[in-house]
């Protein structure tokens, strides 16, 4: 009958209290946010500047997790980038050439002279002068192949070496391509994260999406193009030997060489050896600085192996020029004056201070292994977000008031119970969202408003059922009891079906839509909880006190 055990009552009220407590910080959003930022800074070892005061603005014994505001509410930039994984195949293949050359030169007696043939950038073609020995050459090159390190590629090697008439053809195997793709995307993700962290914005979202895409959301940044300046450049730094200069991009370069334009001198091109001496990967540090003439420059330092390679090369090539190449453009091509030992140096060019700082950041964070193509970019101004929040808040309050009044007019005392439950319900939604660290988006606010409207449904089902049971003159207690009992299956079935659609939305949707799915799902859970337990508890308590002989619902 109408009895609820004490432990259940305590549990129900505790859940409500806990939910409301978790929701509490959201009522004081700016203050709690300042507190959280300040605490994070203090933890990171900073102090002073009023940080302690800011941290004290919110008592530390209270929960301080907030609902994250989505980009559409806070403003910021959103980018969806596709990693050009094929770029890496090219680099891999090009860098194979010196090794292949050295290997085949050792076998000159059998294979004769060798020559690199122009080919598709994803394969390496080497012509040998003794076609009869082609199988020997292939076998020799094959020794360069390494086993692929990946789960699916077990047993496979990374290179496919085949013979084509008098040419040895080297390509990457499919298993290796898969493994490379995976590595490339992981690396890109890591480097993008480092670059954004260097700039120091708050709560960026950097996520992998699908096989080769990366989603980047940075709240508070001015525009997507600013964000692209930070992450859009690959910042691939290499030091290449210079073969000659040219005035035209179509100049004949010869096999194994390439024509690269100068960064700041129009119409000047350099012919460089494609295989580099050292690359930016071997940098350990890069800092903005100034050269002896006081112009902005970037100073850098190599790691030991890079320093050794650079030292050896400069010792052997005093008097000849080498090029500093950034993303396929020659920044400068100084002549080597002396053996540069110690592995540090300085890059000069026509930089502005800002450019040299940016370049230093990019070099420090490391080069992106491959280029990025941007498939989607969105910039939302902070004012628009603020307007949306404001409009959403007002709409929520009005919706709330309208439903409360309407419920009271329709069900009287029971309507009041439902109203209290509805208020608790909205609190619980925010508590739940804060707890899981969900992101509130504009459609998410719509989801909450929709939930306000639909949350009363479970209560309406019960109240209508109680009305029906009262008609059969069973007595008040029995009618209430039966009302809850019989309405239950409808409540459960109706909410599970809605919940299914919320789950599908969450799984298939992205961004704002996902935000909507989360609030809808959270709303379904809390509204079922409040209707089945909270309102019922209130009705039972009311009944125990009043013991009414008749009841009008």
């Amino acid at each position: 009958m109408l009895q609820i055990a004490l432990w259940k009552r305590v549990l129900i009220w505790s859940v409500c209290a806990l939910g409301l407590l978790l929701a509490l910080p959201n009522g004081f959003y700016p203050r709690v946010e300042a507190h959280n930022d300040a605490s994070a800074s203090i933890e990171a070892g900073f102090s002073g500047n009023g940080l302690e005061e800011q941290a004290a603005m919110w008592p530390s014994f209270l929960p301080s997790s907030l609902v994250n505001l989505g980009l559409d509410l806070r403003g910021g930039a959103h980018l969806l980038a596709e990693v050009q994984v094929e770029d890496v195949y090219e680099t891999r293949i090009t860098s194979l050439w010196p090794e292949v050359r050295n290997l085949l030169r050792e076998q000159r007696a059998t294979v004769g002279t060798i020559r690199l043939q122009p080919s598709d950038p994803t394969e390496l073609r080497v012509k040998i002068s003794q076609p009869d020995a082609i199988q020997d050459a292939v076998a020799a090159v094959r020794t360069l192949a390494q086993p692929v390190v990946s789960l699916t590629g077990a047993g496979a090697t990374d290179l496919v070496v085949s013979a084509d008439d008098d040419m040895v053809v080297v390509t990457l195997s499919d298993a290796e391509k898969l493994a490379t793709d995976e590595r490339t995307v992981q690396q890109s993700l890591e480097i993008i994260r480092r670059r954004i962290d260097e700039v120091g914005t708050r709560e960026p979202t950097i996520q992998r999406q699908g096989a080769d895409r990366i989603l980047i959301q940075v709240p508070g940044i001015g525009s997507a193009s600013e964000l692209k300046d930070i992450i859009g450049t690959t910042a691939q730094l290499t030091f290449n030997p210079v073969v000659g200069r040219a005035t035209d991009p179509e100049a004949p370069a010869g096999a194994g060489n390439e024509v690269v334009p100068s960064l700041d001198e129009e119409g000047v091109y350099y012919i460089l050896e494609s295989a580099h001496v050292v690359s930016g990967e071997e940098l350990v540090d890069a800092q903005p600085s100034f050269d002896q003439n006081g112009r902005p420059a970037v100073s850098f330092r190599f790691n030991p192996s890079g320093a050794r390679k650079f030292g050896d090369y400069t010792a052997d090539n005093i008097g000849s020029p080498f090029a500093i190449v950034l993303d396929s453009e020659v920044i400068s091509a100084p002549v080597i004056q002396s053996h540069i030992a110690g592995g540090s140096g300085i890059i000069t060019g026509n930089f502005s201070v800002e450019e040299s700082t940016n370049l230093a950041v990019l070099l420090r964070a490391g080069a992106l292994p491959a280029g990025l193509e941007f498939l989607e970019e969105r910039t939302i101004g902070p004012e628009l977000g603020q307007d949306s929040i404001e409009a959403g808040r007002i709409a929520c309050l009005v919706a709330f008031a309208a439903v409360l009044v309407f419920m009271f007019l329709s069900y009287g005392t029971f309507g009041l119970f439902a109203n209290v439950a509805l208020i608790i319900n909205v609190g619980l939604i925010f508590g739940l969202l804060s707890l899981v660290g969900a992101t509130l988006t504009l459609p998410g606010i719509a989801g909450i408003v929709l939930t306000i409207g639909m949350a009363v449904d479970a209560n309406v089902l019960v109240f209508e059922r109680i009305r029906e049971e009262l008609k059969t003159k069973k007595g008040v207690a029995r009618a209430i009891d039966l009302g809850y009992e019989k309405a239950l299956s409808a409540i459960i079935d109706a909410n599970i079906t809605t919940f299914i659609t919320a789950v599908i939305l969450f799984a298939m949707g992205s961004g704002p839509v996902r935000g909507f799915a989360i609030t809808l799902g959270a709303g379904i859970m809390t509204s079922v909880f409040t209707a089945i337990f909270v309102t019922r508890l209130m009705v039972v308590i009311w009944y125990e006190r009043r013991r009414p002989k008749t009841l009008e619902v």
Partner: protein, 322 residues
């Protein structure tokens, strides 16, 4: 004294004029499909690629001037619409500029946006771009695909759930109502040419959820009454069930509509299309759970005689009373 939207006792006959309701629904569905194919949908950039720029300026907007400023840039198809909203302040003049996806590039380059900004500064020096969104054709194609899959998947999942909890006739009835609601919603978007973007898909799925909610409540009562009145005609059982749940159906629809109307009027223009879809969905969903789902159930018939074992209808879940 209580506010009652529905009289205390109703015994309205919902199936007396099935011809009219079936005819009406069929007509609406045909009209929706016709509009969809003739006029199409006003797809947002999410689904067809391109760029939208939301501008704000204190000066009154003359769309023609904006157009004259942008046209020389040669960006192809550009639509400029002024946005009005009661939540705007007096000197807040907002426009939406949509630029088609540019040939040979995925998302729009910063140069294009800068050129547009420079061109518009000639017309309105204080203009600011409140938001710039750009979607490449590659992603938009995939977004359409995912959206369609999401809707189909949602309907299929629900079909299975109701089939497990009730019987297959109920599932078919519920899904008939769902498909009806989704088609009519797409239809109204085609008729009114409201921008159809990713958020509308979310709205569609919510409509699916809401419409179901309603249908399931009616069906739950049908299931109960079928057990109680074993000898009663199916039509009478359905009628009785709808009448018994009518008061709840109307109550819930009204509270939901109240909340949605508040959002429609006060929630700002950014989500107005989204809210409109849901309002429409609630109205259509309420209608369909009474007239489409139940009529379909009536036409399909339900197995009433449980004395003989029958392995085609019902299963271990069918009689679970949660």
């Amino acid at each position: 004294m209580r506010l009652r939207l529905v009289p205390k006792e109703t015994s309205w006959d919902f199936f007396g004029k099935t011809k009219i309701s079936i005819g009406f629904s069929s007509l609406m569905i045909i009209a929706s499909i016709a509009f969809f194919f003739i006029q199409g949908l006003n797809f947002g950039i999410d689904f067809r690629g391109g760029t939208t720029i939301r501008t704000e300026s204190a000066q009154t907007v003359v769309v023609g001037d904006y157009r004259a400023a942008i046209d020389p840039l040669g960006l192809g198809d550009v639509t400029i619409t002024e946005v009005f909203d009661p939540t705007f302040e007096d000197n807040q003049n907002v426009t939406m500029i949509r630029i088609q996806a540019q040939e040979g590039q995925e998302s729009v380059t910063a140069d294009v946006v800068r050129n547009v900004e420079l061109a518009l500064k000639e017309v309105a020096p204080d203009i600011t771009f409140v938001s710039v969104e750009s979607v490449g054709p590659k992603v938009s194609g995939e977004l359409i695909q995912t959206a369609v899959i999401a809707v189909v998947l949602a309907i299929a999942a629900v079909l299975v759930y109701i089939w497990l909890r009730f019987e297959w006739q109920f599932a078919v009835g519920a899904v008939a109502a769902l498909v009806h609601d989704v088609i009519l919603t797409i239809g109204i978007f085609s008729v009114l040419q409201i921008r159809f973007d990713l958020a509308i898909i979310a709205a569609l799925l919510t409509i699916v959820g809401y419409s179901l909610n309603d249908t399931v409540v009616v069906f739950d009562r049908v299931r109960e009454n079928l057990r109680r009145y074993k000898k009663k005609d199916l039509k009478d059982v359905l009628n009785l069930s709808i009448n018994e749940t009518l008061s709840r159906t109307v109550m819930t629809s009204v509270t939901t509509l109240l909340a949605l109307l508040a959002l429609f009027v006060l929630g700002g223009d950014v989500i107005r299309g989204f809210v409109f879809a849901m309002i429409w969905g609630v109205i259509v969903g309420t209608y369909s759970s009474v007239f489409v789902a139940s009529t379909a159930l009536l036409k399909l018939g339900v197995k009433r005689d449980w004395s003989k074992p029958d392995n085609t209808a019902g299963n271990q879940f069918a009689n679970v009373d949660a």
